[in-house]
Symmetry: C2
Subunit: 152 residues, 2 copies
DNA sequence: AAATATCCGACTTCTTCGGTCCTCATTCAG
DNA sequence: CTGAATGAGGACCGAAGAAGTCGGATATTT
């Protein structure tokens, strides 16, 4: 429960890797996969998905590969997860079809929807460049985002 | 992904229901299940779990049932989820055994761990009483909790 | 033409989730 | 004391989703 899909995980890693190598015009899926030990074919499909949603640019053929479509700071973790795993929802009822059949009698879906928004906000406040920063040398905790939880 | 288990969902509903009926000394699992249409046997096991972790008090026999072990405001959504679904982690690597095998080469687990803490903080800031409040009549969004996301 | 890539869907395998069933222990009413 | 009501807890099953694989088609450079 509440676990990030490994595909989304891999996607974040790949994007971070791309963000760390801004010089190269394009990196192939295999290159990135080898760098981390991710199954190449799986990562390939993930990157294709990210390309289709506009987060990456792709170029086929030799010396082809993928590159960030926009600045690393402009890409949020939320977009990545959304692209790879589809709509982000904490509860089952939000999914239009095949949700939970007791939606009418449920009394906690509204509060939970706000919780959902809050968590989504947290994810939106995180960018790829945040992940790429060399955190070890900067132990001081700088406030990057502020999230306000408002219930009821 | 990132979806709340239905069991945890049911658990929250049940706790809210109990919080809304503070008069009655005890409510049986079947009563609560019928009130919402939750499978009775399933809810029973959930309540048993919550009892074992100390969130509920139980009483067998006729006119028995469950009651909140502490004040509704003292029970956080985080505790509930933790009790029902086990340790809360958004990544696979955190789980000691059978985590992700590329943990050593992974460069995003530290940042993600902070994200994990942040989301956990959000959940901890939500109490059962927050859910039980009659939100419809009070549309003004009062800030209940403040969460600071610190990355890097 | 050959090598290197992306692109894309079908498929298998594995785990987890949601749910049921059955049995035993406890408590209370009569 | 006995039986109904209730909790406690394990075994089990089917459905769904996740992780990963395979095979083939297309595009681009050399
Ligand atoms: S309707 Fe209620 S019980 Fe069903 S998924 Fe939504 S929040 Fe959970
Ligand atoms: S080690 Fe990295 S890739 Fe593996 S689960 Fe943890 S964060 Fe994800």
């Amino acid at each position: 429960m509440l676990k990030l899909t490994k595909k989304a995980d891999y996607g974040l890693m790949a994007l971070k890797y791309l963000a760390e190598h801004p010089e190269t015009p394009a990196l192939s899926a295999k290159e990135i996969a080898d760098a981390y030990g991710i199954p190449a074919q799986l990562l390939a499909k993930i990157l294709q998905r990210l390309t289709k949603t506009g987060l990456l640019k792709s170029h086929a053929g030799m010396n082809g590969g993928y590159a960030l479509a926009k600045d690393a700071e402009k890409i949020s973790a939320f977009e990545v997860i959304l692209s790879i795993d589809g709509p982000f929802f904490i509860t089952s009822c939000t999914k239009g079809a095949h949700g939970c059949d007791l939606t009418p009698s449920c009394t906690i879906k509204e509060p939970l929807a706000r919780v959902n928004d809050t968590i989504a906000g947290v994810l939106k406040s995180i960018s790829i460049s945040d992940l790429a920063e060399d955190g070890q040398t900067v132990p001081k905790a700088a406030a990057h985002g502020l999230v306000t939880l408002t219930l009821s």
